[in-house]
């Protein structure tokens, strides 16, 4: 990523500017479709693949909601084959990172996709959209961003997120480090080419490093607080306390952009109860919870995907019993990722730690 880049200063607000950019890309024929947040029938907000300029007018690209992680959408979109026509995608940094993590696992393709991301101000939990109170919150949301402050009503993962600048986007919309006018940073020649014809003036520059650093500090502090408060998973007691009310619906796993298995191991016959075991189990345990494997599922899922966890918070959003899954996974995930000096989705060329072999590693543990 280039730090001294070309930046387009548009005479439009961030939301209008984002929409205008998508419209420009579609109308100029540079792309044949855009994937963005969109108002759908009934007033909800969902991701849509939009191919008509008219339909774009109802799009809400920067709406602070993540109905599903866009990385999962892109994986679904390109799972079978890469798209053969150019498509622009407006994704948040964690969504983009998640997509890259699935590409490393051959679950998606980047061909013909133009990635537009943003310095991300975070999203609200989905129940705020459901109760209809989100639209009324928008002015306050943007005000807090302008103040470069923290918003305590967002997803806890967003409140504690320190990876809010994208790594691999062709274009970055300056949102948290924005100005009244939308500033679009071109990170690649491809990105810069896409901007030709957009209203506005080019300047040399990049992100506003100062504002970003300031926000980073605040986010780091929030992270310590939130992880300390919500991720009570120390030992069996902690795990049982946090995951005890889990109903085993696996919504977290299905919402997770990294969990890509069509047939999850924890849903397969492998872990199915064998009737001949019950009697034996009751000999050694006072009681057996049914269905079994409540905590086991979460630990297992951590083992399988925590190294790629981008802490987007989708898992927590869909939990019917409001377990702080995302924070627990964030804690474990980041701690593991640090051990390998691995940032999921930072670079497509960075191989998954589980696929690499180093002869000398973890001497402090292995000796």
């Amino acid at each position: 990523m280039r730090h001294m880049a070309r930046v387009l200063r548009t005479p439009l607000s961030p939301e209008d500017g984002a929409r205008r950019l998508l419209q420009h890309l579609l109308d100029s024929g540079k792309v044949e479709g855009v994937i963005s947040l969109d108002r759908v029938e009934g007033g909800g907000v969902a991701y849509s693949l939009i191919t008509s300029s008219e339909m774009l007018s109802s799009s809400v690209p920067l709406y602070p909601l993540m109905p599903v992680n866009l990385g999962q959408v892109l994986t679904r979109f390109t799972l079978k084959e890469g798209v053969t026509r150019p498509i622009a995608v407006l994704a948040r940094p964690c969504e983009l990172r998640a997509f890259l993590e699935t590409i490393k696992r051959r679950q998606g393709r980047t061909e013909n996709l133009l990635f537009i991301s943003q310095t991300c101000g975070g999203v609200f939990p989905s129940d705020r959209a459901v109760d209809g109170s989100l639209d009324a919150k928008l002015p306050e949301y943007w005000e807090i961003i302008r103040r470069n402050d923290l918003n305590s009503e967002l997803r806890t993962t967003c409140q504690s997120c320190v990876e809010f600048t994208p790594y691999t986007a062709d274009l970055t919309l300056r949102v948290v480090d924005g100005e009244k006018d939308l500033m679009i940073v071109a990170n690649s020649d491809k990105g810069e080419g896409m901007l030709a014809g957009m209203p506005g003036m080019f300047e040399e520059g990049g992100l506003d490093e100062q504002r970003i650093s300031a926000l980073l500090e605040k986010r780091r502090a929030a992270r310590s607080l939130i992880v300390g408060r919500d991720a009570d998973i120390k030992g069996i007691e902690g795990l049982v306390k946090t995951f005890g009310r889990c109903i085993g619906c696996h919504a977290c796993s299905k919402a997770c952009p990294i969990c890509y298995c069509t047939s999850c191991a924890f849903e397969s016959t492998t872990f199915e109860r064998k009737p001949e075991d019950h009697a034996g189990e009751l000999e050694v345990k006072a009681g057996v919870r049914l269905p079994s494997g409540t905590v086991f599922f979460h630990l297992g899922r951590m083992v399988h995907m925590a190294l790629s966890c981008v802490a987007c918070g989708s898992c927590q959003d869909v939990c019917p019993v409001d377990i702080p899954v995302a924070i627990a996974f964030k804690k474990v995930g980041e701690s593991l990722q640090n051990r390998f000096d691995y940032v999921p989705g930072r670079d497509l060329k960075e191989i998954l730690p589980v696929s690499t072999f180093n002869l000398e590693e973890f001497k402090d543990i292995e000796g």
Partner: protein
């Protein structure tokens, strides 16, 4: 109920029981298989919420076979019905189970419980004492099978007289257990029947008007899409549904995953394509697959992150579909599922003739 289970265990009439218990943190409930009387004493035979639909829990226990131990299972009528339907589909094996139900006052919304357990518990206690519909979930408010007897034993709470409830045996297994426990067959069930009928009638009436209202809200593609506007296509409803038994849902399978260009083509035809795609297809498809088995338990609505009244929508469609076949899911093991019954003459008023 707890007393009954304890006695059954102590007398060796059952090897174990499966009962709901409060989880250690107190913010939820889970099914516990146990033979320890001490644990049974802490059980909540009717918990305020349905965390895991008992049909699913019983399937978890007996899908692979009946096992070697005799287990008594306590559940709500809708859970009982789901269990019987699952038995028809080979997902539950009933031989070593004794199924015990009770009159159900309804359940509270799952999502609310963890937020303030104490508050919810007192709400439920009120519902249990007064047996009225103020705080219970919408789907429970219109439940016309809340006193249904279809298992082995049924505790007729509504027939309470002084300190005892009538215990009704519905099968040879139930009768045998009752007499082995030394309970007399309920000689007086008239009170229970009267009170139960009152409740059923009240809720049935409510169901009629609810159906009319709901139908008006969701009729036609525009209104249907409107009510599903916030649906994120997460399929949670399907996963918690006790009678959705497929290991991999058709709507999660390869069959509904298409190459990117196909999606682009679709998007071009309409100007935009919502992602993840096929949300409406999923709901209608699921309705087609399980509509005749739906027991209106509300697990789906409890699990929906977008608060869509999905159990109500399914109950609306299921009611009419089941009535067309004169089929009541879970009424009896002797009723085969309509899909596997062939009748040469059927729906003649609907079928066209050459």
């Amino acid at each position: 109920m707890v007393h009954l289970l304890r006695m059954a265990l102590e007398k060796g009439l059952l090897d174990a029981v499966m009962v709901p218990m409060r989880v250690p943190a107190g913010d939820g409930f889970a099914h516990m298989l146990t033979r320890e009387v001490a644990l049974v004493e802490q059980a909540w035979p009717i918990p305020p919420v349905i965390s895991v639909q008992s049909g699913k829990a019983v399937a978890n226990l007996t899908r692979r076979g009946k096992g070697a131990i005799r287990v008594g299972v306590v559940m709500r009528p809708c859970e009982m019905r789901a269990t019987l339907e699952l038995a028809k589909l080979e997902q539950v094996h009933l031989e070593n189970l004794t199924l015990i139900s009770m009159d159900c006052p309804g359940a509270l919304a799952l999502r609310d419980f963890s937020k303030s357990p104490a508050n919810e518990i007192s709400k439920f206690e009120r519902a249990l004492n007064e047996w009225e519909e103020r705080d219970i979930r919408p789907i429970c408010q219109v439940c016309d099978h809340s006193n249904m007897v279809s298992g082995d034993l049924h505790l007729g709470i509504l027939g309470k007289q002084e300190d005892s409830f009538p215990l009704i045996a519905n099968s040879a297994k139930g009768e045998a257990l009752m007499s082995a426990l030394g309970f007399d067959q309920a000689t007086e069930t008239a009170t229970w029947e009267r009170e139960a009928d009152k409740v059923t009638e009240r809720r049935s009436l409510a169901r009629q008007s609810w159906k009319v209202d709901l139908k008006a809200r969701i009729e036609g593609p525009d209104r249907l899409l409107g009510i599903l506007s916030n649906c994120i296509n997460c399929h949670n409803c399907m996963r918690v549904c006790p009678v959705c038994y497929c290991r991999q849902c058709y709507f999660d399978s390869e069959k509904v995953k298409h190459p990117a260009d196909d999606y682009l083509e679709q998007a071009k035809r309409k100007g935009a394509l919502r992602f993840p795609p096929d949300m409406l297809l999923f709901h209608i498809g699921r309705m087609t697959h399980i509509g005749l088995t739906c027991v209106s338990c509300g697990a789906c609505e409890d699990a929906c992150p977008a608060s869509i009244p999905i159990s109500q929508m399914f109950a609306l469609a299921a009611d009419d579909a089941q009535k067309a076949f004169d089929y009541v899911p879970g009424r009896s093991m002797r009723d085969p599922q309509p899909l596997v019954v062939y009748k040469e003459k059927e729906f003649e008023e609907d079928e066209t003739h050459g």
